[in-house]
């Protein structure tokens, strides 16, 4: 018989820790999808691991009325935030944008056709530009822009995932867009 998430949580809390493996198997893909959107791919497994360990440690705080994946998503997002707080200080290793990526970006900014964007988004240069832009931001700004602009979550959803107030998320989201303007200017790109 397939146990529900809440039943598994109850069993784990009563000492049957081996059943926790079922929760990991059931939700690891979902957690990975969240994590991979926030941290470098080669560090994603490490953060997913951390998420499940932290979830285990905080299992007693899980309220049965809430959906387990929602609760787990919050932990995953906060683990990503912690990852950038620990690793984001190495911004001195933030790289400058390679010449070919700068050219790609200049072309894109001059072109307003969505189809061009869609084709370019799958290119290697696009990944470099994305990584370069996000590395210029603080961990807080990075989380906010990723959740609100890149993953298109609402302010309320982002606020809940991060455990921040809605006003904080809104203000940061606005500031990040201003910072992006400076970031583009650094690369020598201004409004055409």
């Amino acid at each position: 018989m397939l146990l529900s998430d809440d039943e598994i949580v109850q069993r784990v809390l009563h000492g049957d820790i081996n059943t926790y493996a079922a929760l990991i198997d059931r939700h690891r893909q979902c957690v990975f999808r969240i994590v991979v959107g926030h941290v470098p791919h080669d560090r994603a497994e490490e953060v997913v691991h951390e998420t499940f360990v932290n979830a285990y440690k905080g299992l007693s705080s899980y309220r049965g009325g809430e959906k387990f994946p929602n609760w787990l998503s919050r932990i995953a997002v906060r683990c990503c935030y912690d990852f950038w707080r620990e690793n984001g200080r190495n911004r001195e290793i933030a790289f400058s944008l390679p010449e070919d990526s700068v050219e790609c970006l200049e072309r894109l900014m001059a072109d307003t056709a969505m189809t061009t964007y869609q084709d370019a988004a799958r290119s290697r240069e696009a990944q470099t530009i994305l990584e370069w832009a996000l590395r210029q931001l603080s961990p807080e700004d990075r989380m906010v822009i990723t959740l609100t602009a890149l993953e298109e979550k609402s302010v309320a959803e982002a606020a809940e995932l991060l455990g921040w107030s809605r006003v904080n998320v809104k203000v940061r989201a606005l500031r990040v867009r201003r910072k992006l303007k400076d970031i583009l200017a650094q690369a020598g790109i201004s409004e055409v």
Partner: protein, 107 residues
């Protein structure tokens, strides 16, 4: 906000989605490894919890024993039965061997 910033954000969003979709396929084979590594860590955490639990229980037990001794001391003193307590304290302070003798002879 300038229009080109909005376009830049849209482009970043598309690149982000493409990146996440590409990464999605990479993870499945590592699933069993992940489960095993998390379960290993949880096992060690539960051992730590066990030791902490044991320490907490022992600490609580000794605290309860102290409280019980104090209560006994106060009750026996109030009832005028402090002789035993006096003898126990004197024995403990000056003659531990006498204390054990007292224990075996009188209790």
């Amino acid at each position: 906000m300038s229009n080109y910033i909005e376009r830049f954000v849209i482009f970043l969003s598309m690149a982000h989605k493409a990146s996440a979709a590409a990464a999605d396929n990479r993870f499945s084979p590592a699933g069993a490894v992940l489960t095993a590594s998390v379960m290993d860590e949880i096992f060690f955490l539960s051992l730590e919890d066990g030791w902490r639990g044991f320490t907490r229980t022992a600490y609580s037990f000794s605290a309860m024993a102290c409280i019980a001794a104090l209560a006994l001391f106060m009750v026996s003193g109030a009832l005028g039965q402090s002789t035993y307590i006096d003898r126990i304290i004197n024995g403990l302070l000056y003659d531990p061997a006498g204390l054990f003798t007292l224990y075996y002879m009188e209790f």
